[in-house]
C-alpha cells in the first residue's frame, strides 16, 4: 500500500510530457555566480565559511600576515584548505542552483501550456446575430465571450455560458480523462476540448490565470520563508554565534597561552562545527517543496499552507469525489412480485437510454453485460424522454412507434452506443406506446399507488446495506428495484489507512442517509462521518475541531464551502469549483482531484522531516569532527595526542574532516530535493526511524568516513 501512495505522488510527476530539462552548464555557471559574498549574506552560515576561505587564502599567499598563527612552510597546506573551503561554499550554491533550475524547468513547462494560442472571440451584433473574430489569446480580456470547438485548446480561464462539451483537463499529469462541461462550469486555460463546442465567458485577464499563478509560485525568487524555516534559520544563526565565540576564544587563548595553534586549523575546526550541511541545503529544501507542489498541479497561496498541512490533525473528506468516484453505479436488478430480472432490466434499459447521467449509463452497461436487451429497442428512436427532476425525483420515457434512430447526445458514451446500434439495427418490432418510470421508491409508489410489502422489504434491505434503491415501473406496475452502489476510488482505502497511521483523523462528510454513509465509511475504514450534511455542516465541524485545538484540513468546491474553506487551517479548493471557494481556500488544485489533500499533507510532513533530519545530522556530525581536530589542534601541547584515537596526523586530520564536511553537502542534495522517504506511520515510529538514521547515524558515519578519507589521502600522498 505504501508504494501506492508513493507512486501516486511520483506517478503524477513522471507522467508529464514536459519533464524538466535541466542544463548542467547553466547550473554550474549560475552556482559560481552565487559565490558573490554580497549575495551569500542571506545565508549566514555559508557567508562565514566564505569569509574563512578568504582568511585562509591570505594565509596561503602571505603567512607573515598572521604572526604566531601561520607558518611559511605550510603554505601549500593553506592553499589546499582554502580550496576545500571554497568548494564547500560552492556545493551549497550548487544545491540552490539545481533546485532553482528544476523549478524553472517546471515553470517553463507550465508556460508552454498557456503559450499564445488562437482564440475565437464572439461579438454579439445589435440585431442579436453573432460574429466570430480570430484573435490571439493574449488579446483576451475579462468578460470576453469565446467559442471553442472540438480540438481547440482553451485559451484562458473561463466559465461556460452555452453548450455542453467534453474537456480534457489533465493539464499536467498527461493522463487523459474527459470532463463534461456545461453551463456554469469552470474552464482552465491550457486544457483541451475533445468533443462538441461551447461558448464561455473569460473570467480573468491573461496575466492572472491559474497557470500564471502556478508559474509565479514556482518562480518567485522572493519566496517568503515559512515559520519553521524562519525558526530554523534563527537556530542556525545562534549556532554560528556559539562557534564564532569559540573560535575567537581559541585564537585568543592560543596566543596568550602559547599553545601553538595554527589559524587554518582553528578555522577548519570552526567550519567543521558550523551547521554547514543544513545551512547549505535549507534554501534548496524550500524551493523543491514548492516545485513538488506545482508538479501536483496545486497552487499554494503561501508556503505556510504546505507546512500547516503537515500539521493537520483532522481532515474533512467529502464522500463524493474523494472517497467514491463521483457517482453511484447500478450493480444489481432485484425484481419484485412475479416479475423477472429480465423484465426489470429491459424496462430499466429503455428508460435509461436517453438518460445521460452516469447513473443512467451504468444501467445500460449492467443490462448489456447481463445480456438483457429489450426487443423494443427500435422504439427508442422516438421516445419522449422525461428528464430527471429534483422535484419529482424520477425520470422516464414514453415510447412511440417510429422509424428513425437518433444518435445519442455527445460525449464519451458515443462509441458504446454506436456499437449497440449496429447490433440491433434490424430489430424493428414495436408495439403500443409504453410508459416506463424509474425513480426513488417513494416517488414511484406515490405515482403508481402500489402497496407491496415485498417491495418495501427490498427497499429497506438495499438501504440498510448502504446502497441506493431505484424503483422501475411499467404501466403503473412496479417491476423491481435497481441497486445503486458507490464505487470506491482506487487506492482510497490505503490512503485512509495511511492517514490513520499518521494519527490524522479522517471525517467523512456526505449528504447521504446515515445508513449509506456508515456502510461506505466502514468499507474504507473511517469511523467518524457526518451524514445528511447541510451546506453549513462543514463550517460547524471545522469550528468544532478548532475549538478542541486541532488543525483542520478540508477540501471544497461549492460557494457553500467557502466559509469552511476560509476557516479551515488548510483549505484546498478545486479549480472546477466556484470563485468564492477558490478565493477562500489557501490552495487550489488545478486537476480538481479532491483526494490530493492527502498528498498535500504528506508533502508538508516530508518538508518538515527533511529539514529536521538534515539539521540533526549536521549537529551530530560535530562529535566526530571534534575528535578528529581537537587532539592535533595545539602543536605545543603534544600530550593531547592521547585523545587522538582516530590516529590522524595533523594535516591529514584537518583535510579529511574538511573534505568530509564538504562532501556531505552534495551527497545530501538528492535527499533535500526529493525529501526524506515517507511511509505513512505513527509519528513516534517516523521519529524513531529518523532519529536512528540521522541522529545515531550522524554520530557514527563521520568517524568511519573521516578515517577512510584519511587513509585514501595518505595512500594518494604516498603514490604521488
Amino acid at each position: 500500500m505504501h508504494s501506492d501512495i508513493k507512486s501516486d505522488m511520483n506517478g503524477s510527476n513522471s507522467g508529464r510530457s514536459h519533464d524538466e530539462k535541466v542544463s548542467w552548464k547553466n547550473i554550474s555557471f549560475d552556482s559560481v555566480l552565487r559565490l558573490n559574498p554580497v549575495k551569500l549574506i542571506s545565508n549566514p552560515v555559508m557567508f562565514v565559511v566564505e569569509l574563512s576561505f578568504f582568511v585562509v587564502l591570505i594565509m596561503a599567499l602571505d603567512p607573515s600576515a598572521f604572526p604566531d598563527l601561520a607558518h611559511q612552510q605550510d603554505r601549500l597546506f593553506y592553499g589546499v584548505v582554502s580550496i576545500i573551503l571554497l568548494i564547500t561554499v560552492w556545493f551549497s550554491t550548487l544545491s540552490d542552483s539545481i533546485a532553482e533550475a528544476r523549478s524553472r524547468a517546471t515553470a517553463e513547462g507550465l508556460k508552454k501550456l498557456e503559450a499564445e494560442t488562437p482564440a475565437k472571440r464572439v461579438h454579439v451584433k445589435e440585431d442579436g446575430g453573432r460574429e466570430i473574430e480570430e484573435i490571439s489569446s493574449s488579446e483576451l480580456k475579462k468578460g470576453d465571450m469565446i467559442l471553442m470547438s472540438k480540438g481547440d485548446q482553451i485559451p484562458i480561464d473561463a466559465e461556460v455560458s452555452e453548450g455542453i462539451a467534453m474537456v480534457d483537463e489533465s493539464l499536467l499529469t498527461g493522463e487523459s480523462a474527459g470532463v463534461r462541461k456545461a453551463k456554469g462550469d469552470t474552464l482552465i486555460g491550457g486544457s483541451k476540448v475533445v468533443s462538441d463546442s461551447i461558448i464561455a465567458i473569460v473570467t480573468t485577464d491573461p496575466e492572472d490565470t491559474y497557470i500564471k499563478k502556478l508559474v509565479r509560485m514556482v518562480e518567485s525568487s522572493k519566496r517568503p520563508k515559512t515559520p519553521n524555516e524562519v525558526a530554523l534559520s534563527v537556530l542556525l544563526l545562534g549556532l554560528t554565534g556559539v562557534f564564532t565565540i569559540i573560535l575567537i576564544a581559541l585564537i585568543g587563548l592560543s596566543v596568550t597561552l602559547s599553545l601553538g595553534a595554527d589559524l587554518s586549523v582553528l578555522i577548519a575546526l570552526y567550519v567543521c562545527l558550523l551547521p554547514t550541511t543544513i545551512g547549505a541545503l535549507l534554501p534548496a529544501i524550500g524551493i523543491s517543496g514548492m516545485t513538488r507542489m506545482s508538479k501536483n498541479s496545486i497552487i499554494a497561496k503561501s508556503g505556510k499552507a504546505i507546512e500547516t498541512a503537515g500539521d493537520a490533525d483532522t481532515i474533512l473528506l467529502d464522500k463524493t469525489g474523494t472517497i467514491t468516484i463521483g457517482n453511484r453505479l447500478a450493480s444489481e436488478f432485484i425484481p419484485v412480485g412475479k416479475h423477472t430480472e429480465r423484465e426489470l432490466a429491459e424496462a430499466a434499459f429503455l428508460s435509461s437510454w436517453n438518460d445521460d447521467t452516469p447513473e443512467g449509463r451504468s444501467i445500460l452497461e449492467l443490462a448489456f453485460q447481463k445480456g438483457f436487451l429489450p426487443k423494443e429497442f427500435d422504439a427508442l428512436r422516438e421516445g419522449v424522454f422525461e428528464e430527471f427532476s429534483a422535484v419529482t425525483r424520477r425520470s422516464g420515457i414514453l415510447l412511440v412507434d417510429s422509424d428513425d434512430f437518433t444518435l445519442p447526445k455527445g460525449g464519451r458514451e458515443f462509441y458504446q452506443r454506436h456499437r449497440f446500434r449496429k447490433k440491433f439495427d434490424l430489430a424493428t418490432t414495436m408495439v403500443d406506446d409504453t410508459t416506463i418510470l424509474k425513480g426513488a421508491p417513494e416517488s414511484i409508489k406515490e405515482r403508481t399507488g402500489t402497496q407491496n410489502d415485498e417491495f418495501d422489504e427490498v427497499v429497506n434491505r438495499v438501504t440498510s446495506e448502504g446502497d441506493t434503491p431505484i424503483a422501475v415501473s411499467i404501466h403503473g406496475d412496479v417491476l423491481g428495484i435497481i441497486r445503486f452502489r458507490d464505487v470506491l476510488k482506487r487506492g482510497i482505502k490505503e490512503k485512509i489507512l495511511g492517514l490513520k497511521k499518521m494519527n490524522i483523523r479522517p471525517i467523512m462528510v456526505t449528504g447521504d442517509h446515515p445508513l449509506t454513509a456508515k456502510s461506505i465509511a466502514s468499507e474504507v475504514g473511517i469511523t467518524e462521518f457526518i451524514s445528511q450534511a447541510k451546506p453549513e455542516t462543514k463550517y460547524q465541524k471545522v469550528k468544532e475541531e478548532q475549538a478542541e485545538n486541532r488543525i483542520v484540513a478540508m477540501i471544497g468546491d461549492g460557494t457553500n464551502d467557502a466559509p469552511a474553506l476560509a476557516a479551515a487551517d488548510v483549505g484546498l479548493a478545486m479549480a472546477s469549483g466556484t470563485f468564492p471557494a477558490k478565493e477562500a481556500a489557501n490552495m487550489i488544485d488545478l486537476e480538481s482531484d479532491p483526494s490530493k489533500i492527502i498528498d498535500v499533507v504528506i508533502l508538508g510532513k516530508q518538508l518538515l522531516m527533511t529539514r529536521g533530519a538534515v539539521t540533526t545530522f549536521s549537529v551530530t556530525n560535530d562529535v566526530a569532527k571534534y575528535f578528529a581536530i581537537v587532539p592535533i589542534m595545539f602543536a605545543s601541547v603534544p600530550a593531547l595526542q592521547a585523545l587522538n584515537f582516530l590516529q590522524l596526523t595533523p594535516h591529514i586530520a584537518v583535510l579529511s574532516a574538511l573534505i568530509f564536511n564538504a562532501l556531505v553537502i552534495p551527497a545530501l542534495i538528492p535527499l533535500s530535493i526529493r525529501g526524506t522517504k515517507f511511509r505513512p506511520q505513527s509519528t513516534l515510529r517516523i521519529f524513531m526511524k529518523n532519529l536512528l538514521l540521522y541522529g545515531v547515524g550522524g554520530v557514527i558515519l563521520p568517524f568511519v568516513a573521516i578515517k577512510m578519507i584519511a587513509i585514501i589521502l595518505v595512500y594518494a600522498g604516498g603514490a604521488l
Binding site: 515559520p227 556559539v242 576564544a249 587563548l253 485545538n549 562529535v623 509519528t683
Partner: protein
C-alpha cells in the same frame, strides 16, 4: 576504589531525596497553586502582615515583563543593601571582632555574588566579615536569592501550564517571594539549623574565643551564627559558607552525618522542582522527563568523576574521606550550589571535568528553581531540532515552538559561552592572570576558566578564593554572575509568557513524557553544551590529567 558500598550510598541517598522531594512537591503545590493548605491559618496572617507592610496588592498578577522587571529591581535593591552593609561594616554595630570595611570592589563582588545566588567567595568569611555582615549582608540575601529562584521557577511553570491555572500573567513576584520565604525556606532552614546545632555546628554571637590547646599553643576559635547559615546556604543552593574554606572547615562540617545532611539539603528543593512542574502543568510524565534527564546527566558526571583509579592526591579531609569528597564535589556543581568540603586543587583533574559539566549544563538538576528552568530551555531547543523529524511543527506541551521562542532560547544558550570565554581570554590577554601569580600552564588555565564558569553558572565554588580579590576579578566576575543569572531568567520568563498565550494542540506529535525523549535530551545536551566547551576542557583539566600521567611515568 569505588565499591558496592559506595554505589549503595549514592543510590540510597538518591532514593531518599527523590522520595522526600516528591512529598515536598505536594506541599509546594499548595504554596504556589490554588490548593488550600492546613497551614494557611498560620501563614496567611503573617503574609498579610508582610503584604501590608510593603503595601502589596496580592491579587494583582504580573505579565512576564513586569515579573522580570520586579525580579531585577528586587535583586538590585538587595544587592545595594548588602553592598552598603559590607562597605561600611566597620561603622556598623554587631561587629565584636572589629573587622574593617571591605574594599569597594570586594563589597561589590560579594553583594552581586550573594544576590545572584552564586556565593563566589573572594572574601574570607570567618576572617573579614562582621556578624551583621554575615547575617544581613550574606545570610538574609541567601534567603531572598533562593526565594527569587523559586519564584521565577513557579512563574515559568505557570506560563508553561497555559491559561488554565491562571487567568492572566505569571503570578505576582512579591507574593511568590514572600510565600517562598515564609512557607518553604525559613521553616525548613530553621528545622535544619536546630539539627546542625545538635550534631555540633556552632551557633553563637559571642565573638571569637581564644583557647589554649593541649600542646600549649594559643588558637582563635572562630565561632558565630554558623549553623543557621549552613542550612540556608545548602538549602538555597547558595554555597557561600561562613568560612572561606566552607564545608571543608570542621566547624561547618564536623562529621559524616553533617556531611550527608548538607548534601541532602542542597539536593532536596532542586529535586522537587521537576515534580512541582509536573503537578503545575498537570502532566506528571513531563516532570519525570526532566527528573530523569537531570539525574541521568548527574549520574554521567559521577561515573566520570570516579573513573580515575588514583582518585585523590594529598591534602584530603581525612574525616570525610575521598569518596564523600568526590561525591560532594560532583553534587555541589550538579546543583550549582558551590559549597565545598575539600580543596578543589587537591583533586585529580578528571574529577574537575564533571564539576565543569555540572556548571556548564546548570540543569543536572541545577540550582534552586533555575535548574529546572535551564532544563526547559534545553527541552525547547531539543524539541525544535529533533521534533521536525516527526514530520510536524515541533510542539512542547502542545504549544507550537515558533521562531520567537527559538530566538529567545538561543540567546539564553549563547550567553553562557560568551560570559565564560570572553572574560577568560581578557583575563589572560590583559595580564590580570599573571598579576595574581598564575601562569599559562593547564593548571592555571583550568583555575581561571573554572572561576568564570562558576560565576556564570551561579555556582560559586572556586580555586581562587581570596586570591581572586583583585579589582579585575571582583568586577569581572560580578558582571558575569549577574549576566549569568538574569539573562537566562529574562529569556525563560519571556518564553513562558509567550507559551502561556499560545493555542495548545490536543494531539500529541512528539511525546516528551516517554523514556526515549529523556535519552534524546541527554545526548542533545551533551553534544550542544559539553562538546561546545570540549576544546577548552581539553587544554584545561584533560591536559592537566594527561601531563600528570606523563610526569608520573
Amino acid at each position: 576504589m569505588i565499591g558496592i558500598r559506595h554505589i549503595l550510598v549514592i543510590v540510597g541517598l538518591w532514593a531518599t531525596i527523590v522520595f522526600f522531594a516528591w512529598i515536598l512537591s505536594k506541599y509546594l503545590e499548595t504554596v504556589y497553586g490554588d490548593k488550600e493548605s492546613k497551614l494557611d491559618r498560620i501563614f496567611i496572617p503573617v503574609e498579610n502582615f508582610i503584604y501590608g507592610l510593603i503595601g502589596l496588592d496580592k491579587n494583582k498578577t504580573m505579565k512576564w515583563k513586569e515579573y522580570f522587571l520586579n525580579v531585577l529591581i528586587f535583586s538590585a535593591f538587595s544587592a545595594v543593601v548588602s553592598f552598603l552593609i559590607l562597605y561600611y561594616q566597620g561603622y556598623l554595630p554587631i561587629n565584636p571582632m572589629h573587622f574593617p570595611d571591605l574594599s569597594w570592589s570586594l563589597a561589590l563582588n560579594t553583594a552581586m555574588s550573594i544576590s545572584s545566588n552564586t556565593n563566589l567567595q573572594h572574601y574570607g568569611g570567618g576572617s573579614s566579615l562582621s556578624y551583621l555582615s554575615q547575617m544581613v549582608g550574606i545570610q538574609f540575601l541567601q534567603f531572598t536569592s533562593a526565594a527569587t529562584g523559586l519564584a521565577v521557577a513557579v512563574a515559568i511553570f505557570r506560563g508553561f501550564a497555559g491559561k488554565k491555572n491562571q487567568t492572566e500573567g505569571l503570578g505576582n513576584f512579591y507574593v511568590d517571594l514572600v510565600r517562598s520565604l515564609t512557607r518553604v525556606l525559613i521553616p525548613l532552614s530553621f528545622i535544619f539549623a536546630i539539627i546542625f546545632i545538635i550534631i555540633g555546628i556552632p551557633q553563637s554571637l559571642s565573638g571569637y574565643t581564644l583557647v589554649r590547646t593541649l600542646s600549649g599553643s594559643e588558637q582563635i576559635l572562630k565561632i558565630g551564627p554558623v549553623a543557621s547559615l549552613v542550612s540556608i546556604m545548602q538549602l538555597g543552593t547558595n554555597g557561600g559558607g561562613y568560612f572561606g574554606a566552607n564545608s571543608a572547615f570542621p566547624f561547618q562540617n564536623p562529621n559524616p552525618i553533617s556531611n550527608y545532611i548538607q548534601m541532602a539539603l542542597m539536593m532536596i528543593i532542586p529535586t522537587s522542582m521537576p515534580f512541582l512542574f509536573g503537578r503545575m502543568i498537570n502532566r506528571m510524565g513531563e516532570g519525570r522527563t526532566i527528573l530523569i534527564a537531570s539525574y541521568g546527566l548527574y549520574a554521567i558526571d559521577l561515573i566520570i568523576a570516579f573513573i580515575p583509579v588514583t582518585v585523590l592526591g594529598a591534602g584530603m579531609e581525612a574525616g570525610i574521606g575521598p569518596f564523600s569528597s568526590v561525591f560532594w564535589t560532583v553534587t555541589t556543581t550538579a546543583f550549582t550550589t558551590g559549597s565545598v568540603n575539600a580543596s578543589l586543587a587537591a583533586f585529580n583533574p578528571i574529577v574537575i571535568i564533571p564539576a565543569f559539566m555540572g556548571m556548564l549544563i546548570q540543569a543536572t538538576p541545577g540550582g534552586i528553581g533555575v535548574g529546572t528552568m535551564y532544563m526547559l530551555m534545553y527541552i525547547v531547543i531539543t524539541v525544535f531540532i529533533v521534533g521536525l523529524m516527526a514530520g510536524r511543527t515541533p510542539e512542547y506541551l502542545g504549544a507550537k515552538i515558533t521562531a520567537g521562542d527559538v530566538k529567545l532560547a538561543v540567546i539564553g544558550f549563547l550567553s553562557h559561552p560568551i560570559i565564560i570565554l570572553i572574560p577568560t581570554v581578557i583575563a589572560y590577554a590583559a595580564g590580570y592572570v599573571h598579576a595574581i601569580g598564575y601562569g599559562t600552564g593547564p593548571t592555571s588555565f583550568t583555575q581561571i576558566f573554572y572561576e568564570f564558569t562558576s560565576a556564570a553558572a551561579n555556582n560559586g565554588s572556586d580555586f581562587l578564593g581570596t586570591t581572586g580579590n583583585t579589582v579585575f576579578f571582583n568586577v569581572s566576575t560580578a558582571i558575569v554572575m549577574w549576566a549569568g543569572r538574569f539573562i537566562p531568567i529574562f529569556v525563560m520568563l519571556a518564553i513562558a509568557g509567550r507559551i502561556q498565550e499560545r493555542r495548545r494542540s490536543s494531539e500529541i506529535s512528539l511525546r516528551t513524557d516517554d523514556i526515549i525523549f529523556p535519552i534524546v535530551l541527554i545526548v542533545s545536551i551533551l553534544i550542544l553544551v559539553i562538546l561546545t566547551f570540549f576544546p577548552f576542557l581539553a587544554i584545561g583539566p584533560i591536559l592537566m590529567h594527561l601531563e600528570g600521567i606523563k610526569n608520573a611515568l
